[in-house]
Symmetry: none
Subunit: 412 residues, 2 copies
């Protein structure tokens, strides 16, 4: 089953409103195994909307529309769907009653323009809207299914979840092909390097692989299509490929699916009953913020120091003036002293430190923008790693956080 | 001039990635007065992408594409644009050199697959990409303009702003109607409260006003349409309305257009030669991270302590055990002690502290999730403010940061 999401609304075409509805619907349809081939957005313009609907119905099996169900004259989605499918518009008296009650609860008479919201293409299954005045509709004709939903996300989403999802599940059934998806997450290798290593795995039968570059990590997305009853087979195929990828990329693969670097580090620290503290310079607090992003982080994260100035590096962390003078704040020696210092102050099992040049200013030939030292202190001793990152200030900071967390992952 | 935004990328059609690029481009094109009639999204599928490009070029004057410029075999936007426009692909040696240098800086040889990124349809104006390896292109043929941009927003946005915007400004000229836009930013008032106060200003002739709720602030967007040569008039109208809004909302308006809470606080501290330090509990480092977001922050931000555990509140900040026991870590007394403590340790002019219940767990009837105390210490003394925020953990944390910065703004 191939689907298209059609959204209408002038606010979308003015850049005022971010199209989160299309994103929401696409995610839901994908997890049902429905292939979404197109998103189309068009304003409240009858000619263009009609043409878009005509094309969508021609090229897709399932069309989900959002928007254009309001009471005003430029809200025309239902009317144009009826026109394109050659259906009449009919009043649904139950819907009319509900709209009247909606206004009744607000002690206001129903404006006559709202009557329009109770009309639907003949043969529609009405989708109730407990939140607003615009019911939706589901229409099937000539093997095409059209789902008509309101625009506001807080009306659209519950309508989809409560009424459309169960219908689609039935339509799809056990014998339709669904997508069995898996995402492997990689740190410390670029897109081309991964492609080179996995090249021969990228075109396997019945399994697709795609590489997605995220800000501070790469995602390898594997998809195996199968029917619900054959999903065991598909999962076995995914297991095999995952195993092979992990064999080739080793510990560069840090997680899978919903796992994030932070969640993995947190889980590992929790499982091993380890505590951690941080001494941050160039990341300015981002590392602590990352470690405390998920609930329950107070179990392993004690806290730390943001020693943005050299005086705080000395005063709060005990970094020596000698090393600051001899090597500068961005140096292996200072990174080590910072990690050692915060571990001593907090008594944590592990400690991490960051010091670097986030840019855009402050770089030199010897110490360019993006140069970062990350220090690690444990009961066994102290060491620091040197990194050279590229990109804007915020990228350098995010990459530093990710590299620091990755270092913790590899130590534990 | 009628425009269409075409985005390609399988991740968009799987619901993995929210299409912020289309939103960004649409907003920019709209403010240039260019009418965006369609958004179309299609996956990395050559047949469908070709068909979408063909249709876009037929029905629109300006087509802006994002995505499909990567080094892998399924990245085909430039190649398909060339096919549809009946142009050859040619190598651009300057781009090739830059891509080689990109890898050179990383001490890695350029993979041969990246060579593809230096090929463009004949006659392209090349748009440099200082951040990644995918340059963009601008092509004009038969009165149609096609702008080809990379997918990742952090590469696409600066390319559009630096190279495409000036080109489009020239094409559009002085006599087209543009949108003169102004955004006023408000903290500490909700949508309905603002609407109530500004109701009579919302339907002025020649000027539209829209309220947009952001995560931790409200935006009031004012638009006056005029030609470039009449923009003086439009700006005068905007000035008048802005003045009236500021009169009614007072210091709830914290900034305008590109100004952010952080940039305003940083500028104020710099101008007044004041230094600041932070003591964070529930924000876990986010406040320091916000203060160090922009370059030059080391002039005013000394650093601070993330005292996530009570022992660090005592050990590093000198919070008294008595108050921790009597009032708990989330209390006015502890917030005050934290701010006082970090100011003493760092010798900064100002100090701010945060302590609260970010959730989702840890709340009680007496101290519900979202309860936050923010402490302020100056030479004149110490005080703390109580807030009750609502929303998810991340919202509570972001709102706390924003309220803390807003407090600094109002103190200075």
């Amino acid at each position: 089953m191939k689907a298209e999401v059609v959204s209408t609304g002038t606010e979308l075409l003015l850049g005022e409103t971010l199209n989160t509805s299309t994103h929401y619907l696409t995610g839901k349809l994908s997890s049902l195994g429905i292939e979404v081939d197109y998103h189309t957005t068009v304003g409240d313009n009858p000619e263009r909307l009609e043409q878009v609907l005509r094309q969508a119905i021609e090229r897709s099996d399932l069309i989900v529309t959002t928007g254009g169900l309001g009471p005003t004259i430029d809200d025309l989605t239902k009317e144009l769907v009826a026109k394109v499918l050659d259906l009449k518009m009919e009043i649904d008296s139950a819907s009319l009653e509900q709209i009247k009650q909606f206004f009744g609860r607000r002690k206001a008479p129903m404006p006559s323009s709202n009557e329009k919201q109770a009309f639907f293409p003949t043969g529609s299954k009405i989708l109730p809207n407990p939140i607003g005045t615009a019911p939706g509709a589901l229409i099937t004709k000539d093997n095409k299914t059209i789902v008509i939903l309101p625009g506001p996300p807080f009306e659209m989403q519950p309508m989809f979840d409560n009424y459309v999802w169960p219908e689609l599940e039935q339509v799809i059934g056990l014998h339709a092909e669904r997508m069995n998806e898996r995402v492997l997450k990689v740190f410390g290798m670029g897109e081309s390097a991964i492609e080179k290593v996995l090249y021969d795995l990228m075109n396997l039968p019945n399994l697709t692989m795609a590489l997605l570059a995220k800000r501070a990590e790469m995602h390898i997305r594997l998809v195996a299509r199968s029917t619900e009853i054959m999903s065991g087979e598909a999962n076995k195929a995914l297991d095999q490929v995952e195993e092979e990828i992990r064999r080739r990329l080793g510990n560069k693969v840090f997680g899978r699916d919903q796992e994030t670097m932070v969640s993995i580090v947190g889980r590992t620290l929790n499982n091993k009953n380890l505590t951690i503290s941080t001494a941050e310079s160039c990341t300015g607090g981002l590392l602590g913020a990352a470690l405390t992003q998920e609930p329950g982080s107070s179990k392993f994260y004690l806290g730390g120091v943001v020693s943005y100035s050299n005086s705080l590096k000395q005063g709060l962390l005990g970094v020596s003036e000698k090393n600051l003078k001899a090597f500068g704040a961005v140096s292996e020696e200072v990174a080590k002293e910072m990690a050692f210092g915060i571990r001593s102050k907090t008594g944590s099992d592990l400690a991490i430190s960051t010091t670097g040049i986030a840019g855009p200013d402050g770089g030199s030939d010897e110490k360019p923008v993006g140069l970062v030292y990350i220090g690690f202190a444990t009961a066994k001793g102290v060491h620091a790693e040197k990194f050279q990152f590229y990109g804007e200030r915020e990228s350098v900071r995010q990459l530093t956080v990710q590299a620091a967390l990755n270092g913790v992952r590899l130590i534990c």
